[in-house]
């Protein structure tokens, strides 16, 4: 998939801006980004509530509000993920990169290894990629597909504890407690997942800014107007 698109581009004489990230992908990205930030902040304060308040219990609804906002953003996150997976089917070829890893392709793994070397300063030869570079694709898959589904499943399983037996959340996600009967443990893994997101957000923002600074293509603007721009007309392969 990726290789065909590349050879097609390499045949082209000039490498003008290529439309990669369609509108639904970009909208999803920013909605997802906001949802993740809100989920992390509210999630942290559910695990570590703010200092205790005085007065009557009926005067406040702090924890209740944190939980409500957390649940609403969780719905946004989960539905967004579903829409994004749907778009991977009907969208352009680059929309599938996030969901389908070409693990069967030896060439792809070689390119992953090149990116590892590139980011470890073992080589100065930068590659050009229309969509994501293979290493980015791999890490985005881990975060969005694996961790995303993991957080949705554990999150709604924990949510089902409040909605109760027989509720939709219990019917759809109660099986989590068959795999891990201790809900305290499920809570903990859900919480660890939050920290993995924090880890991801820091590195993701850095790597994208770095694309603009030290690579052969654009970074941040791609997710704003959807176009991939290259800084040179050289071949796609590392040089």
């Amino acid at each position: 998939m990726a290789t065909t698109s590349e050879s097609a581009i390499e045949r082209k004489e000039s490498q003008g801006p290529i439309y990669v990230y369609e509108v639904p992908v970009r909208v999803w990205h920013w909605v997802h980004a906001i949802a993740i930030v809100v989920l992390c902040v509210t999630g942290y304060f559910i695990a570590h509530p703010l200092p205790s308040l005085g007065g009557e219990a009926s005067d406040h609804f702090v924890m209740g509000t944190f939980r409500l906002v957390h649940f609403i953003s969780a719905m946004v996150f989960a539905i967004g993920l579903l829409v994004r997976f749907y778009w991977a089917i009907v969208g352009n070829e680059y929309s599938r990169e996030l969901v389908v890893l070409p693990v069967w392709s030896g060439d792809w793994w070689k390119r992953v290894w090149h990116e590892v070397k590139f980011y470890s300063f073992l080589t100065r030869k930068a590659s050009k990629n229309v969509g994501h570079n293979p290493l980015a694709q791999l890490s985005l898959w881990v975060i969005n597909v694996f961790l995303g589904i993991f957080m949705v499943c554990t999150g709604f399983a924990l949510y089902s504890q409040g909605t109760g037996a027989g509720s939709w959340a219990d019917i759809m996600f109660g099986w989590v407690f068959v795999i891990e009967p201790s809900s305290q443990a499920v809570r903990m893994w859900h919480y660890i997942g939050m920290w993995v997101w924090v880890f991801f957000v820091i590195t993701h923002i850095y790597v994208i800014l770095r694309l603009d600074f030290a690579s052969r293509q654009n970074g941040v603007s791609g997710m704003i107007d959807g176009y991939r721009r290259f800084k040179d007309d050289g071949p796609m392969s590392p040089q």
């Binding site: 609804f61 702090v62 109760g164 099986w175 443990a185 903990m188 820091i202």
Partner: protein, 365 residues
């Protein structure tokens, strides 16, 4: 005397009046959350059905389940149930001892093959062929398997039988194993808790012997009527949780005012039990009511989840090293921040030296 006596016959023999019997039936029906018409159905069943024997085995345990059971808040229920089960086999409660007692087991199998209920308190250790728990000269696990082969259903009393409890805590040298991982071919009702609430125990056992079927169970095999909700869902301090009013330390103003104990490690939000509704010792109190957080004793693995006084639990980091989930996460995020800063510096240097070497190449050309 009829060939097979009913529960009612047994109770009358033990001096329980009809009036007490009917009171017991209505009380138990209410405790099980059944409608008013079930008091009559329960009485009818106990009057007409042949008595189902209950064999009560003890493995690795502390007898707190038995202790809880005989202290049922309602003495009536206690008496009635005791008269129902003490006839057969219960190491701690029965009069017989030694060979005489062990013979009772074989007699029950002969007389009631496939009909009796096996109530298991504690669990079998499997390591060293079960030599860590010997009863009557044989490993307990053999006795358990033998009795389970001929029983109708199993009740796993307490966290030991249901999940493993403290004897199964890491590193679990005796390999103490909960009943459902040893007996795979019989229906098992888990009644976790350390110990379970007396009324829960009497309710479950009465339901099973009277209606001749298992109570409705949740995914994990616990009776829904007692383990359907978390303590948190029915906790009388829940409004303080939603408001954001917490006990920060056990001697602060919040503790005196009875605020939520979540921040001092209460496991109510992750624990399924009936403590917050039935309470303990005849409705006298329960942990949160007495000002201490729930330990989560009815939950799987509660003994290996780190401090009882922290809302965030421990996890295994590497080998036998454990750390608070909080620290693991914060370390991860800090590592990312430091890594990014270092990498950014590396990128700048790499770019600068890269330019220089390119210029050098151009010059040499």
């Amino acid at each position: 005397m009829p060939a097979k006596e009913t529960f009612y016959d047994v109770m009358r023999k033990h001096g329980i009046t009809r009036r007490s019997f009917l009171k017991f039936c209505s009380l138990t029906a209410a405790g099980l959350g059944l409608g008013p018409e079930f008091a009559g159905k329960l009485a009818h069943a106990l009057e007409n059905k042949p008595r189902t024997p209950v064999i009560w085995l003890h493995g690795l345990e502390c007898t707190c389940c038995s202790e809880s059971f005989i202290r049922s808040g309602n003495p009536l229920a206690g008496d009635v149930i005791l008269s129902m089960i003490s006839l057969d086999y219960s190491d701690t409660l029965m009069a017989a001892a030694g060979h005489q007692a062990e013979e009772l087991l074989e007699q029950t199998i002969e007389k009631y093959d496939g009909e009796y209920i096996l109530a298991c308190e504690g669990n079998p250790p499997l390591n060293e062929d079960g030599m860590y728990c010997i009863q009557g000269g044989k490993p307990y696990v053999e006795k358990l398997r033998h009795m389970a082969d001929h029983c109708k259903a199993i009740i796993a009393w307490g966290s030991c039988a249901s999940w493993g409890c403290v004897q199964a805590a890491k590193p679990n040298p005796t390999q103490a194993t909960p009943i459902h991982k040893v007996i795979l071919d019989k229906p098992i009702v888990k009644v976790p808790g350390c110990p379970p609430i007396a009324e829960v125990m009497t309710g479950v056992i009465t339901y099973m012997v009277a209606f001749d079927r298992l109570p409705p169970l949740d995914r994990q095999g616990r009776p829904k009527m007692f383990y359907g909700q978390r303590l948190h869902d029915k906790c009388y301090r829940r409004p303080h949780f939603d408001a954001g009013q917490f006990v920060e330390a056990f001697d602060d103003e919040g503790a005196r005012k009875g605020y939520c104990l979540y921040k001092v490690g209460c496991k109510g939000p992750t624990t399924y039990n009936a403590c917050s509704t039935i309470e303990w010792n005849g409705g006298l109190s329960w942990p949160v009511k007495s000002g201490h957080g729930c330990l989560g004793c009815a939950e799987d693995n509660f003994w290996d989840k780190g401090s009882f006084y922290s809302a965030v639990t421990n996890l295994k980091v590497a080998g036998n090293v454990e750390a608070n989930a909080e620290k693991v996460g914060a370390t991860l995020a800090t590592a990312a921040a430091i890594g990014v800063a270092a990498h950014a510096a590396g990128t700048v240097i790499s770019k600068a030296t890269g330019k220089k070497s390119k210029q050098a190449e151009e010059v040499s050309e």
